[in-house]
Every structure is written in C-alpha cells, then in structure tokens.
Symmetry: C2
Subunit: 419 residues, 2 copies
C-alpha cells in the first residue's frame, strides 16, 4: 500500500464512521503533511481522490470540506432515484419487444465459432465483408453510392468523428445546428476547429436532418436542396448524421443529402443503436473520394474500435435480410407505440395539446401547469421539459423505453403530477 492510499483510506474511514462530519474542514495540505508525516504531493493526491470519489468537496480559496453527501449516500440516492423512476420517458433505451434477441444471438454465436478470424486483429478500417454489405445497404436504402474502400467502421459516431477531424488538414470553422450535440462540438474544439452555431459561412456544416432537435423535427426537402446548393457553391463540407432517418411519420420519406449532392462534399454517418440495440456499438462513415484518399495515406494512425465478433455477426445479419426486416418492424413498433400513447393522452388530458413528432418517436404535449417541476420525479416519471413559462408546460415524451403494458399506470402517474 502506498502512503497516499493509506491516507486516503484513513480519511475515508473517518468520514464513513462519522469522526469527520459533513461540513468539517479538512486540514490544509501543508498541515496534513506534517500531521501524517507525508509529503504534500501525497496529501494533495489523497484529497483529489477523496474529492473524485465524492467524499469531500473543494472550495476554491478556502480548502476541502467533508461532503454533505458521502459517496455511499450518493450511490444509494442515485440507486433510489433510479428505482423511483417507474416511467422513463427520457431514456434512449430500447423496448424489449422491438428486437428479436434470438435471431441476433444466433448470429453472434455463429461469429463466436469463427476461431480463425478471432485469432487475429481486425482490419483498421473495419471488416471488408461488413463494409461490402454496408455499401450495398446504404445504396439501396439512402441512395448513398460508395465503394467499400470509402467506408470506415467504428464504435460509435464519436470515434468516427475523431478520425474525420484528424483527416481534415485546415482546422477551420464548424457549424452545428444547436448546442445539443455537446460531444461533437467538444471533439472538434479539441482538434483545434472553431465551433459555431447556425453559422452559414462555416467550412464544415454538421447536420442531423432526421433528428434536427430534441423534438425530432425532420429537415424539409426544400431546405435540404438549399443546403446542398450552398455547399456546392461555397465548397463547404457537409457532415450528414443520418440518425433516425428510418423513422418518419405522415411526411414523405426525405432523400439523404449525400444523394442530393451526388456524393460531392458530403460525409455520411450511419449507426444502428436505434435500429438494433443501443449496446451494439457499430457505426459507419462514408468518406468523400478525397478524404478516402487521405484516410488511406494515414491509415497507420487508426485502429478499429468496433468489436470484431459483432462486425462478423452484423455482416451476416444484413446479408440474410434481417436488418431490413428489423427496420420495418422497429419503425412500425415505435410509431404504433407513440400513437397509442398519444391517443391515451388526448383522451385523458382534454385541455392539453398533443402532437407526434415528425420522426414519430416523440410526443410533444403542451398543457397548463401550476405546480413544481419535481412533481414528475415524485410520481415516478422522468420526462424532458422543453419549456415552462406563463403557466404553460411543454413536455417531450419519448415512449421508446416504456413498455406498452405500463401505459395505463403511466397515465395515472402523469395525472397525479399534472393536476
């Protein structure tokens, strides 16, 4: 055991046993050093660790104090809260009914039997067979035409954006539609890009046309054409994150920007967390010919992050037509759920305005409200509040992760919270 760990454990024990009480000030780093006969660095590190674990908090220019919530309490509290949430209308999780686990398990088991392939590292760019299957898939589905050599696979859109950032030499301005995609903005900033919002003159324009806002707004075709024309005129690069493009409700299916632009100046991003399982971390990126050339030159820089077993399984799953079937099923399933819940809401809350989002995954509910917002948590509900002003509350309700057989009870809980 190191000295730092000794001190960490001593102080932690003192806090847990109550010898040090919530709000107590810890000795200064210098004092503690002479008190426990250790170096200041040792004390500093023990304090950092206690703070990181939630036992103490740092007050700048003042010192360290025992936290009012010890880490244990925090853990218990967060477990409590989680247990208290019976109806999670915020969750991005999937509904068990939406996914045929048995089929996926069969493909995973097949993949696990391919000993020879699992004995070696995968291709940095992603398994060639899966890239071939994806090349066909996006061509058929979104009219995105690209040879497998232009497709890069990765564990999540974030990993792929990291590669993209590294490929773009001139770190110019990137425009995001709003501040909701914090991760993307932070990544581009880390790579030295200048991040702006809704900035027309940016060299790079990031859009998610089928999920423009938390409300699930879909970009109209006219706007798509304008954006593609703008990009052609200014030679700006569009990053098209086609998230949730498979979900659409009473609007015409919209073409991909990549197809509208004839493949020029558009990097296309696709993922499967919504269509299959959130825990399957496979995304892909279609690079422009120019960026694909740069990728090839710099391929030594990159490693594959997506699990090889899952790549092998997904490839065969796509080839056998299960992905297309699963998309049809998922779309029907989630649209039906949202409509069913919207109908229940409309029935029960006659003074509320109920809308279904354009991507058919969210319900937007506008309702008079005069209580405190913690009413929802108190009644076991997690829900996203879009706005609350002048006695009018706007909720965004995602029914994805709430099983249909608890809809009735969820309505009762919502009634208690709202009235």
């Amino acid at each position: 055991m190191s000295k730092y760990d000794d001190l960490y454990n001593k102080l932690k024990a003192d806090i847990l046993s109550g010898q040090l009480k919530a709000g107590d000030r810890l000795p200064s780093v210098r004092k503690a050093g002479s008190l426990y006969s250790v170096s200041r660095t040792t004390v500093q590190n023990a304090y950092f660790a206690l703070a990181a674990d939630g036992f103490i908090i740092s007050e700048p220019q003042s010192g360290y104090y025992v936290s009012y919530h010890t880490a244990k309490q925090i853990e218990e509290k967060s477990a409590d809260t989680k247990q208290n949430i019976l109806y999670d209308f915020k969750s991005g999780g999937a509904d068990r009914e939406s996914f045929e686990f048995d089929i996926w398990r069969r493909y995973m088991k097949n993949a696990l039997r391919q000993d020879e392939r699992l004995l070696t590292y995968g291709e940095a760019q992603g398994e060639a067979e899966l890239r071939e299957a994806l090349s066909e898939y996006v061509r058929d589905k979104r009219n995105v035409i690209a040879s497998p050599s232009r497709i890069v696979i990765g564990a999540g859109v974030q990993s792929l954006l990291g590669i993209l950032c590294s490929l773009i030499d001139s770190k110019g301005t990137v425009s995001f539609p709003d501040k909701s995609f914090q991760q993307g903005a932070a990544l581009f900033e880390d790579y030295g890009f200048d991040v702006k919002y809704r900035f027309k003159d940016a060299e790079i324009i990031y859009v998610s046309p089928s999920h423009m806002t938390k409300r699930g707004d879909v970009m109209p075709n006219k706007r798509r054409m304008e954006l593609v024309e703008h990009s052609a005129k200014t030679a700006s690069l569009i990053i098209e994150d086609d998230y949730e493009s498979d979900f659409q409700y009473n609007i015409m299916p919209a073409p991909s920007l990549h197809a509208l632009a004839g493949g020029s100046n558009v990097v296309y991003l696709g993922s499967f967390s919504r269509l299959l399982l959130p825990s399957i971390r496979i995304s892909f990126m279609v690079l422009t010919p120019e960026l694909a050339g740069k990728y090839r030159e710099n391929i030594y820089k990159f490693n594959q992050t997506a699990a090889k077993t899952e790549q092998i399984a997904l490839c065969q799953y796509i080839r056998d037509g299960h992905l297309k079937a699963q998309i049809r099923k998922t779309r029907r399933f989630y649209t039906a759920k949202a409509r069913a819940f919207a109908a229940l809401l409309a029935e029960e809350f006659i003074n509320a305005q109920i809308e279904i989002s354009e991507n058919a995954l969210q319900i937007i509910m506008t309702v008079p409200f005069s209580k405190n917002l913690d009413e929802f948590e108190k009644n076991g509900i997690a829900v996203f509040v879009e706005s609350y002003e002048n006695g009018i509350l706007k909720l965004i309700i995602n029914t994805g992760a709430v099983p249909q057989n608890s809809f009735k009870n969820a309505i009762i809980a919502l009634k208690n919270a709202l009235s």
Copy 2:
C-alpha cells in the same frame, strides 16, 4: 446514379476492359469536363475515387495515369502474397492452442442472455462491475491501487489516449522512446502536443517498460526507479503502457512504474489483446486522482467504445479466475514455443547466434548472409529484419502465430532462404 458515379464507372470499365492501358494519361480535369459534359468537380471527384481505389495514380504537376496495377490485380496480388506466406514470424496474431475458446464462448453466451442490460447504452466510463473487477485485478497483479472511479475502459489503447489527450489542458511536450508507436505520436500531434523522442525535459513521458523495443527488451528496475524519481522531481506525467508485462523470461518480474511512484504522476494502461484474443478490444486506463476529477467534469464529452457484451463477459471471466489461469497458460505456452523454436534454430544453424528476448516472445537470430532479402518471402517466410550490414543479418522471429507442428517445415524454409 449521380453523374460522378457514371463517370467513375465508365472509366473503371475502360480500365478493366483494357481500353485504357497501364500508363495511359487521363484527360485533364478541364478536358474531361467538356468531353463528358460534366462539371470539373464531378471529374475531380471521379478521379479521386479512381485513385483511392487504386485504378489510377496522380503525378503532381503532370496529371492522372492508369495504374500499372489495377485495384483488382492489387487485391489478387495481396491475396497471393498472403497465401504464399506459410510461416508468419511477424504476426501479432494468437496461436489457437493458447486460448480456451470454449470457456470464452460460454461467458459470451451468458452475456448475450442478459437482455435487460443489452437494451440500454452502457456507462460512458465502462461497465461499473468490470471496472471493479479490473480494480482488484491490477491491485493484485501489478500493485496498482485505484478505485473503480479512476478506471476508464475503452476499445484499445488508442481510444483511451484520445480521452487522455482531451483531459490534459496544457498541450506541452510528449516524449516517446522511439518512432515505432506511430499511432500514439500521431494522436498527440493531432491534439496539438509537441512530440519528441527520448527527450528528458518533456512534460509527458510515454513508456512501455515491458516492451521497449521490437526486440522485446524490458526496462531494468534501476532505470524504472530513476524514471519515477525524475518524474517526481520535474512533476512530469508518466504514461505507462504495461503491454506484455506478463511475459518475462529468466529475469525477475519488474514492478510497475505506477506502484513504484505510489500512484503519483502515473497514468497506467492495460490491455488484453495478448492475453486473450487480438479481436477482443478491451483496454483500460488508470487515471491519476487529478485527471479522474477532470474526467468526471468532462464526462459528457466521452462515449464508451468497448462492446458491452464483451465487457459483461470479461467481468465474469475475471471474477471466476479464468483471466489469471489464462495468463499463466499463455505465458507458459508462448515461452515454451519460443524456447522450442530457438533450440531447433541453434541445432540447425551452428554459425548463428540465437537469443531469446527478455519478454520471452521473440527470438533474435544473428547470422552471416549474402543473398537478397526477398529470399524470405520467396520461401514463404515473413520475418522482421532488424539489421543487415557487412554480411551479417539480424532477424527478429516471433513464433506466436506459427503453430508448433509446422516448426520443422519452417526450419527447412529458413534453411533454403539463408544458405
């Protein structure tokens, strides 16, 4: 089909049919534009795509020429070469005999049965249970003491270094021992760090103490102590990549830098590609208390890249003691293989000097040689040539991926190549 794609396909067909021959110059972008009645951008993109796919090559200040090797030939050739390599002494792949597939498959199948857990996204930092298991594992094994809150899981060391780069505010100087870890150096450069080699005054010192060189040299304890003292004196951060620390041959097991430093100023990296399967992409990083605090503040920036199924499987696999058993087995297995092959070499090549690397995974063979280096490939051998001068050849032979039952034939092939 877009215009760009039409042109791409037309030119590709012309090349494959032989209408355009190897070395033929393609019309200039401007000429091709008017020839095919498309915009210059369309031509440029089609040319980029053809170049990316290997059909044409760009000669700066001159134009585009049909490649002497079409993509198809390149593919065929690379498949040929691969088939011709019968004894791959360069590969980082695993030996089928080294790994108990059945046990791993059992744990994966169990993980795949956990429907509820697979329905949700994983924790950004990695599954809490796996972090707990890893915390115990590195404490027992390498005396690295860290609570699970300081452990971050990711798909490969590269992903974890990306997170680390993002957490370090002042992008100072990073020192690498040599140029072999190109990926790491490129990543730090991308994040704005100043990369140097063997530079004592760096703010960050990257080392891989159990795999210092391609020859598998292990850092001596005296040097470890010096490095830790240097880091304490100059407050520089050590990044300790503990790759292959489980492999050691007739030297004393060396302590981790993290343990020697009492956890101060050391970020510890561990991975499993060598111990389990190269295709299992799970690595972990132990942050310093300070960096763990920063991670927590910035957690919104990061996503988990490692597959959730594999994380669940690995956690239970560790808890049931299989990892420790596997490490013992792997070490014994690869050491025995290297020794067996070294003995065969010593017997057959009496004028050669045969050494086993300190990490017991490589054989270093020094032998007189007067032929061309392509003799090895001609004889179906892939091997790393460390040096070849004055008629003396130094080979680094990794027996990891060559099955023991082909040792005798490999020796015959080596004889043909060398004599």
